[in-house]
Symmetry: D2
Subunit: 411 residues, 4 copies
């Protein structure tokens, strides 16, 4: 039998960390002996537990401990993290430690160093010179990089569920049924966005094309004007159809004023793309007065950062759309710095891509009429995402109302 | 070869009646010879076609002619409808003619008589004394009833798609994608409802429990106040949760002001039902001042007819809920007289039940976040239903806004 | 400050009972002091915890304790349950205790008595003469019935999640993603059904009409033959379309051999119903040789109990369909005795109705292509249901294969 | 008033071309005079119509005629197509003709030339030297290219719905309800695939990651072995998880034999990608014996062409995945030559991308558990796609059964 002492700190009971730890131990055939437990008696007082974990073999114990660290356990008497050096460009050592999106520390020279910014499913590279640690995606591994391997010397902090209400993020489940009131939840989201801006942090909107097709582009344009959209992620279609609307008043050939298809209108988005290509860039099209309103116009004129990542289904593409996927990921990584609130709106592809690089600490709301989108995002590791199964157009209309007139929020 | 001359009249081209007829003939191995065709050249001018239909045998021709009549063909030189007499109570003659929900005439004494009101999947009984014809559901067949059998002497009028816009009912497809603007469509619906009221006809709302759970009950209450709900169909849950909200401020135990579950709140709907049972009726509970606002209150105090049909999953039930399904159908049949617009809101069971008894000429809008509901309704014969895949709470909020302030509608 | 000692026993840690208790206390502003805790160290050893719970007022404590009892807490020094007598028929005392579907004991004469059989959302009536306790739905309350009120003297046993695999019921989450392998899960279900039969207990199938429309009726018929369907619940449509298939080879007019609609076939289900009505009962139609194969035939000839509960959307109805909803619930209650495994197949209405009366200890699998059905069932209290988002026809084909040839199961 | 004579040929009645033409004329305020109409009397005999179309202005007539050509009308006395020359690389003339995916001819030197291969939403470039015409996507337009502008001199052939059954493609609607029998339809698809192979044409499979997650990769591997997959399109995840399964027996960390998550298994797909990157290519990994079974193995060893188009959400990526989206589209275009049957299996992104470049004449079946996927594909112009709402794993299991044992097909 091999044994190790572990410690747990924080809101380990109501965030279900403690029972998950116990459950994991028993599922994997281990046992445990609790030597100390202090339960926080109020909303602000953290809890503490210390216990000895045992497993039949050292290998089993190591695997188990690795899992417990993912759940927030802190290993007493932890040695430094082990590393191996990259030999082949773009290839990591076999046993590299793959990150989660939770706050993570790595032990270097007997001290804990935070991995900043954290991102899931990448490696950790240690910089001995500066004593720091950073995330490195597989394709960016360079010969000589010192990569953390195994599970020793790593600790992960679970995101603790706050006890105080009212905020939607206190929900234990990560999906809001279509049978609950959306109006109440939209007010909570508006409050959260206002608080983020008051604190000087950024809001990221991830947009799917239905935002434009449903006519909700005017609400996004208003969010930009009101200062609630510092960064926007989307694809080729967002720019194409937003500019189609600005140029021809249609989206996918449907008149946004009347809802009717216009004659020969299915070609309008191609004409819009062609027009933008003639100007050479979105900025040039705005400067030349070709595009006079909408998401692209407001983003360009008000300094919202617009990252458009292409996909294999694109027409054109629109100038400025990044067609290389590795470059697109880098641009997105670069743009999320300082973001604390993210709204994913009727987007699947770009929502998952954003979830991949977003720290778990970022408040993330997913709005889609299809419940499967939320499930998929959570299945792929973006467990912090709170899903709202609703109509994105009516959601944005209501949200813009709330943000425009704060009074409404408390009505 | 057996042959017969048929005639078609009306908007047979753009309503696709003519090609469907041709298609049906050829699919069933028949042939046809067009002897006359006049195509209407304007929106008001009907078209006309006359043709000889042939089939290999008389039996095949009879079957084919029966199908063509369903599609709107009129048989030249039609004899009177044939009838058989009911012998066993609740059992129809074997070969009884089963109705559609389209306007239907039956030939009696060499004249056409309209079957009023029409309803799908029932028999037609002829009253020789008055010269009239009426629909009779199977279980109401009485010995001596003279029931139409076979397909001779029947003609069915297709609902013609109007050429003029703008109205959502001109859509050829019967489902509105979640990628279209709902705001525009909601304005069309509001216009339609206002027109119905101006013409003195009734509006029917079919409500599912999500209308109450999402907090949209206040919008339904407002529709009643504004005069846009003469009849309401629903189940036990509608009354139970609406009164739960009126009594305790919750729906299924969730506080409608805060969205939070209240302590021990999952019992509130049972307490509400128990309270209503103590009063003996919804009317008594309102009169006694126990219920002071909401759907039930407004319906009782403003004369909206409330038909609550129970189901096998009900608690209680609430007094006034009809527990016998045959009686419930009769009550619904009785209540739809004069209805020209129906909104089915987040309801499946009661929506299908209503679709079963509603003439196809009634404008029918189905609002549900689940696209399968619309498909199911259409599959069961309610082909006139236009589906809106959206969030019922936000839909009703917007609709109430439009109906309250007509100015908004045209903005 | 008011205080009370509570005790917890069983698999309280990995079934998350303990942390839920703590969480509930703190959310409601209470505090607790753990005086003893022993954690089970193996899969068979239960855990134990004793703690003092405090709340600001006695009323707050009472409410809190009531909630904790729902979560499985046992109150030390519990007095007998309090009761009140029913005065008005069909109306319970205001403060009646509403049951859950979990195993429940009530304290009478200082001893614990099990409420058998348990069912959710009903009252508990005590029979002083026999010393027993039974569930009573609201409408069956009779003057003189002694009904349990308040929360004292009640204890509820959480269903403990077994630690040992492999069985699908060990899943913590109650829904199986459409991205997991169904073949594996189907084998687990087959194993579970075989075990139930080996133990002499019954299997209940709840059927929606899609089972017949998709042609899967032959698989249900085979399950009956193989002895895996002692009880079947369904609606009018199940009998109507199954007999339509037996009589005419169609379901809703679609030929089950070719998948094509047959001429005039949409009337076939009405003709089938009319034929059954002529015979007067399903049994008579089978005996007379009119129905020679299928679900109804096998059920009648092999003694499977068929409970058909009508609904407001029914045609006919088919003889034997119970049209009064209160009577239908009683028939279903009566039929579930001895059932330990339930499969709900493409049914919403009857699945929810069955969930309402089923003890939580019954293994319950919900198969539907629409993920919302599973969510709805769980939202309504049938939290033990495990959902499988898949195609019901292909599911049944595979399940029948597994049950027919046990060898396949382990391949 | 401006007028023009148009002609229609083929199965213009039962494919609804004729009424759509009439409908379009009247909706746009035009009128028409039928001068000749001959209706085909049998399944093989085409129909013919000639009529004069009039509109208030020449501009209105031109627009109208353009629309009618899209619907299959042939303009009598058509002049040659007009062209303009490309000036700026990657930018088309303003008024360029945007293609559909229907068979299209362009008039050059008073003769009709077929545009081969056809693809939607691109331009037509005429090669005066060879007298040919080809599709050119916007970004590939080169200075000097002679691009067709306006609508004159173009004719489009509607895909005619065949009269003979049985085949699923004869369905008028493009979606198969989840309430129909899938077994029958799967047999039709197997028959279609066998016919395609017998005719020497290719079958294309477009795969989403759920194919691997559900364990259906073994069925795809079998389809390759049986010769029913000449081309496979997919993304990074297909190769990553297929090789994860081959290397570790898991998909997304879930054991494909037991359905259980394995310890630390969520890292397996990253390890698999890292391993593949070490080998440098899929072919090298197979040759070296690292990958010994599965989709990738069978594709590499049996010559199935595998085109993997990356996306912004990818980890790694796997070597061989095309990360530039413009290059990926070119590779897909190149690979579809000779394909006559396409199965899109639980894929959204790659299905839409494939739909964009596929001629409408290619038989296209979309299998997904989510009905919205089919709708989306049709909304984006891939109207020929027939949707099957079912479970992809059980679908493939059944399809592989049918293709392995043809006897089963007719059982």
């Amino acid at each position: 039998m091999a044994s190790q002492v572990i410690e747990l700190r924080g809101h380990i009971i109501d965030s279900l960390i403690l029972p998950r730890i116990w459950d994991a131990i028993m599922r994997q055939g281990g046992t445990f002996q609790v030597s100390e437990m202090r339960v926080g008696q109020s909303a602000t007082e953290p809890s503490y537990a210390r216990m000895t974990v045992s497993a039949p073999t050292q290998a089993a114990l190591d695997g188990l401990i690795a899992d417990l660290e993912q759940l927030g356990a802190e290993i007493t008497g932890t040695p430094d993290a082990q590393t191996q050096t990259v030999i082949q460009p773009g290839v990591l050592p076999d046993d590299f430690y793959a990150t989660t999106n939770l706050p993570t520390d790595v032990r270097i020279n007997d001290g804990w160093v935070s991995v900043e910014p954290i991102e899931m499913d990448v490696a950790i590279v240690i910089d001995r010179a500066s004593g720091g640690a950073r995330c490195v995606p597989m394709h960016r591994a360079r010969p000589g990089d010192e990569v953390v391997v195994g599970h020793g010397g790593i600790r992960v902090h679970a995101i603790e569920r706050p006890r105080a209400r009212p905020e939607i993020f206190s929900f234990m489940q990560n999906s809001v049924s279509s049978e609950r009131s959306k109006t109440l939840i939209i007010r909570d989201i508006a409050r959260e966005m206002r608080a983020a801006r008051a604190a000087g942090s950024k809001i990221l909107l991830v947009l799917g094309p239905a935002v434009v097709h449903t006519g909700a582009r005017k609400h996004i344009a208003e969010l930009i004007e009101l200062g609630y959209a510092q960064v926007i992620f989307g694809g080729n279609a967002i720019a194409a159809h937003d500019c189609e609307a600005a140029l021809f008043g249609t989206s996918l050939g449907v008149d946004l004023q009347t809802g009717d298809p216009v004659q020969d209108g299915h070609r309008n988005h191609l004409r819009a793309i062609n027009t933008l290509r003639r100007y050479g860039s979105l900025e040039a099209a705005v400067t030349a007065g070709a595009i006079r309103e909408g998401i692209v116009f407001n983003a360009v004129t008000r300094g919202t950062r617009l990252v458009l990542a292409g996909s294999v289904r694109d027409d054109g593409p629109v100038p400025g759309v990044i067609t290389d996927m590795v470059a697109a990921q880098e641009a997105m990584r670069d743009a999320i710095e300082g973001v604390t609130v993210t709204l994913m709106l009727a987007s699947m592809l770009h929502a998952i891509a954003t979830g991949n690089i977003l720290p778990a600490a970022v408040r993330t709301i997913v709005v889609d009429i299809n419940p499967a989108v939320v499930t998929k995002l959570a299945d792929r590791g973006t467990t912090q995402a709170v899903g709202l199964v609703t109509d994105v157009e009516l959601f944005l209309r209501e949200l813009a109302d709330c943000l425009r007139e704060p009074a409404k929020e408390s009505s």
